[in-house]
Amino acid sequence: MKISIGPIQYFWKRDWVFAFYESLQDSPADTIYLGETVCSKRRELDLGDWLDIAGSLRKAGKEVILSSLSLIESESELSSLQRITSNADYAVEANDMAAIQLLSGRKKFVIGPHINIYNQHSLRLLSLVGASRWVVPMEIGQHILGDILQQRPQEMQVEVFAFGRLPLAFSARCFSARAHNRGKDECGFICGEHTDGILLNTQDNQPFLQINGIQIQSAATCNLIGHYEELVSRGIDILRLSPQFEGMPEIIRILRQVADGLLDIPTAMQQLLPFQTHGSCDGYWNGVPGMHQSSAATG
């Protein structure tokens, strides 16, 4: 089982981003996804910076994939996308059909989790135009996934979002700016002040969602480690961990040890507890509401 580090969903300061990826050079992660996937206004790093980071990570033996924006509206966003898809050195994760259109028939690509693939026929269709890896949409549980993979296209790798806050929705509106009573055009990059987004509680004080710019995430951390055996038996190749500000080196170590059979799952679950600030969930994998946490998998 391989371990990947998904793109950073939050707007971290430039120095933090460089330091974060430097720390991953010696980590037991196999694959690193780089780039901005949430908001095109976030430009602390340009493509040149990302390519520099990519170069160092590749030198350190990592597979590097360039991720692309999830919601693409403007011509300038399309030009940025085009610069990413036309790079000569790295594969690209498509998170919008625009990226797939630009990559189709030209280059192998990764189907990102925000592309709507819900059945084997759609997966095959994208495999025919060059998709070589599929990051399964969050909503799809293991039984439906099992049905889809009965007709798995040849050489299609499958990656599952296994640890982190779930990206649940994207909007034209910026909810971080809204939380600070600002319009999107006057956001002042307020999302940059929240390393892991802004917690949204229900009125009876239950952590519910996480506001991250134009994106809404789950407040709970999705954690599928309790389902490790199922992930293996379903033929999953790669587990994706989504970056959070605290604890990534430790989280990667724990998952690697589980994958290598060096750590039992209850102990791993115990060790992951401090990194799940607002609880955990595994509902989607079980085909029930995504927010649910099964008792069998709490360790």
Partner: protein
Amino acid sequence: MNRKPVELICPAGNLPALRTAVDNGADAVYIGFRNNTNARNFPGLNFSRDEAVKGIEYARQAGKKVFLALNTYPVPQRWKEAADSIDIAAAIGADALILADLSLLEYASSTYPGLRLHLSVQGSATNRNAIAFYREKFGIQRVVLPRVLSLGQVARLVQTAGVEIEVFGYGGLCVMAEGRCSLSSYVTAESPNSAGVCSPAHAVRWQETASGTDSYLNGVLINTFSTDEAASYPTICKGRFMVNGTIYHAIEEPTCLNLLEILPEIARAGITAIKVEGRQRSRAYVATVTRILRAALDACHQDPDVFSAKAEWINQLNQLAEGNCHTLGAYHRPWQ
């Protein structure tokens, strides 16, 4: 004026609503079958094959069209049902299919090359490259745009998309990019993409309290209402939550999209059609919205330069709206 009139596309959740839409001036009515294949899969709603046949007949006699929405993403076990629904839609002579799923677009375009295909709003195509993919692969002739673009962006797409552009003109407002929202399944296991529903009724619970009413969705408190407030349906994005110690509509106020005031800009931009949201709404809603938008579109077509939205139109539409107020949504940049 030579410009083609902007088409008015109205919703119908059943045969009486379809007739009402046609009678009140819809150019086309969009409907769904009574199964999992469309994004308004609500109990008691939608069409059997026979009802769809009758609806198409009725519309055709009036010179109007019927579009069939088959716009969920079928999982393997439901794929055949979806493909069968396409066969039925083709057999009964639907004027267009509104599809989102790649494999269904492929199936429809290869099996029925003459059948007109529209990319559903659930297809989430918000730029010219995304639209080009569907045009080149499946020959779609129209795209329904998600409600995330500004009017300027929509106008540019009219020039660059190479297909007809349909936009939402009136109705409940999805604040999220359609096809990119899993909030409902996070709480209830069912979403528009997977099951054709958002915040399904079976997960809704109302609780009377000393101070009013609380609304829950599968046990999650979405909103609280005082006795003098009208309680609104617990759609997650329209709830009131606590952020940084303040309780407010943290995602979006319940409000209604209404493009009446910018109809001349819509027409000048070359947008082909405007669509009314609400297959789940009543026949009275369909009647009022269709009648008013018909009158407004006709007036606008006659003389866009002097067109202004009549106060009585706005008032009547606001009375039907969620939250009883309206917005231009993303079409108007400051909203974003």
